[in-house]
Symmetry: C2
Subunit: 472 residues, 2 copies
């Protein structure tokens, strides 16, 4: 017997579940097939447990500042790592429950098993054949781990395993200082671990601006060692793992390997689709519709490799289902790219940065958060903000930063960039006092100086267009 | 001898100094006359020292959550109030130095003394006469204090005195729960004081939405008593001050009177201007140009009573100087109104709220921060956000909220309102995961449900207008 379905979604993660949710607006005739664990990558092993850990680490990390500010007894504070990990798992489990419930609510329409394409509209799972009008591939990714390191057993973990640690050892090595590596490395350092971070290139946390990158490294080095441009080897040592790289050698209790992620495509039978594959083995697809060639198959979420972030995976799930099922689908744009790294101070970027910026015609302006008023008040004065604007019209193109409350500044920046606001227009918005948003204003004013503009009136909107909130 | 000046600025606070700064773009022929202390209200006795205190209080206030999260030893923590106050004054002095330097940099053009109008273009100060082409009044305000309470001496302080306290007593009464009252009341409560707050009306922190107001009161009551609709009397007690009001009687060591502020106009000789005065004794002026009648005199900053907030005072200083000195002054609008109360969680509003909202044609949507994901992760899950939108076109009109990181959400909201964005347009902006901005998204989605709209595609911009950051 062959089951039929208008839409089959492969994968019960963020992209798959939002694809289902979008699909339900058009049809109930959907099937979900999931090979891996239920619960999303974000909730199980990603953004949620990491944030639970980071919140504790950052708050505990304020104890020296509290002591300087008049709070007695801080020397008695101690992080009970085992208890912190219990706290993290407890919160995590709460957030994993939601997506599991959603999948289970499908009843027989939720199939647990490894799906395999026999041809573009026929899948096989658990020995059953399924005839699908449309298929959405949302199988996600898993952490990279060099084969040789598996011999070191439990002493080498990825983000899949780190939140399961019962009592993490106090000596920690981190290999790979992308967003996950710096977040978790700093967190364990703040919680009292001796942390040694190694990374291949010169950049950390996905930053590309040299000054901003240097600012984050300086902050991290207050709590952990940061060794850039290092190829790392791991070997069994007397009491742990010996890490060698960048001219350093250090023995640690355990190693967090944060070396990026690879697509979950094995066993899917992609070879039966007769389509071009990219260097990762993923079918080539249209970046706008997420459709693979002229097949009735779409690819979404982390496995697509486009924008491996939770809110982008959710968008891709919706985009794929919309294009797969909507008879008059319109062309949809993506939101302004935004990346947030939840260190303290935070880091990230919005809009165009690094190699994506035009080679010429870009002016910059920066702000130094080591002297910013509100940041000083909070003892969180560190970081640097760099803005990029179009030389011709002053339009904000992108931003990269290390700053207290970076996640909020990045929302303001991404929203302004998406609306194609000019530096002058942004300077007409309210900046309350005292807030870190005033640091953003300093950087905007620096851009304007670079643009060589001299304003002819105060930074306030003209009256031409009356608004409800205007005076009078 | 009579001194001449193109512009005379009365008052060396935020409004006066920004007026000077704007004036310098047109002329150096300015005089500053200041009767009170140098340094701005904000830096001396307002936003800056209060933020220094609040930052310590909020961080110390996290100790119970830290204990639940795996940090041992929190029971040893104790706020050394005297040391905290030293810390606050140290930071404050750093920020007061700037405006004092600016005034001193004027040399002989900075006159310390009480100015008095003899006629609209003639002032007298320290026995000297000054002929002014234009005058800007920026004399600020001072805290209200009922005459009868002065008999209680040091036991009753206003914001002018609170940051000078060497070792504040542990039993504190607060009369008046506007922004200053709730900020300082909560801060001292978090720092271990027994705090009793009384206020006349039913609203606290300047909130007008009943649900949002109730949310803040609920949060405050975890740390202090809040007695609304209470007229308070103060009397000398055996060991302190006896407060009576709202059916309660309590004895405290000291009382913070936060009962609003009154304009500094005494001695200015306003009676010699022959203009209409409002009920506060302040000359009636044009709210757009800040000009008093057809005189060459402008009134700016807190004394104007328009928007007694630091960033608004700065704007008013610039507006007044621009209109006073610019030959072709254009009509300028104000920024979207915004009020931020720096409690934990924070509170405030943006755009139109309360009585300023239209009587009909407004739809609302709310979000509950007690269950918001990121807020839960941080143990900061409390609060409520209420949005107001125009029923006809979905344009966001205003917002009022209690929420973690309220100050940042309020910037996003105020900027969106100032740009006259609709709820649909805002929902096309990026909302990163997991952030409190997702709570804002929930409220926007609630508004849309109320609007009865059914979207026809995912919440993403259409491709019609290509942008630099779009795909492809």
């Amino acid at each position: 017997m062959t089951r039929q379905a208008k839409l089959v979604v492969l994968g019960a993660g963020t992209a798959g579940l939002t694809a289902l949710s979008e699909a339900w607006r058009y049809t109930d005739d959907v099937l979900l097939i999931n090979a891996g664990p239920y619960g999303t990558t974000c909730a199980r092993v990603g953004c949620m447990p990491s944030k639970a850990l980071l919140e504790v680490a950052h708050a505990y990390g304020r104890r020296d500042w509290l002591a300087e500010s008049g709070i007695a007894g801080t020397q008695a504070l101690e992080a009970d790592l085992a208890a912190v990990m219990v706290h993290v798992r407890k919160l995590r489990d709460r957030f994993v429950a939601g997506p599991i419930d959603t999948a289970e609510s499908l009843g027989e329409r939720n199939i647990h098993g490894q799906p395999r394409f026999l041809d573009p509209t026929t899948l096989e799972v658990n020995g059953e054949r399924i005839q699908a009008e449309k298929v959405i591939i949302a199988t996600g990714t898993r952490p990279n781990l060099p084969e040789a390191w598996r011999a070191l057993g439990d002493r080498v973990v990825t983000s899949d395993g780190v939140f399961e640690l019962k009592a993490p050892g106090k000596r920690l090595g981190v290999v790979g200082l992308g967003p996950i590596g710096v977040e978790l490395g700093q967190a364990f350092a703040q919680l009292g671990c001796e942390v040694h971070g190694f990374t291949r290139g010169s950049s950390v946390a996905g930053l590309s601006d040299p000054d901003v990158n240097a600012s984050l490294i300086e902050v991290l080095e207050r709590q952990m060692t940061v060794i850039t441009d290092a190829d790392v080897t791991l070997d069994q040592g007397d009491t742990g793992v010996v890490m060698q790289g960048g001219g350093r050698e250090v023995e640690v209790d355990w190693v967090l390997a944060s070396l990026g992620r690879r697509p979950n495509i094995e066993g899917l039978g992609l070879e039966n689709l007769d389509v071009e594959l990219d260097e990762r083995g993923v079918p080539v697809f249209d970046a706008s519709t997420l459709r693979i060639a002229d097949l009735p198959i779409y690819i979404t979420g982390d496995v697509s490799g486009l924008r491996p972030l939770m809110h982008e995976a959710a968008d891709e799930g919706r985009i794929a289902a919309y294009h797969a099922l909507h008879p008059d689908a319109e062309c949809l744009r993506r939101r302004t790219p935004q990346a947030i790294v939840f260190t303290e101070p935070g880091a990230g970027h919005a809009g165009l940065t690094g190699a994506k910026l035009p080679q010429s015609g870009v002016v910059t302006g920066s702000a130094d958060f080591s002297r910013q008023g509100r940041a000083l008040m909070a003892g969180r004065n560190a970081g640097r903000l760099q803005l990029y604007a179009d030389e011709r019209d002053g339009r904000l193109l992108g931003a990269e930063l290390v700053a207290p409350d970076a996640e909020h500044l990045l929302h303001l920046l991404a929203w302004s960039i998406q609306q194609e606001m000019t530096v002058d227009q942004i300077l007409q918005m309210p900046f309350y006092h005292p807030t870190v948003e005033e640091g953003l204003r300093s950087a905007l004013q620096a851009v304007r100086r670079e643009l060589g503009q001299r304003r002819t009136q105060p930074d306030l909107p003209l009256c031409h267009e009356p608004a409800a909130w205007a005076l009078g």
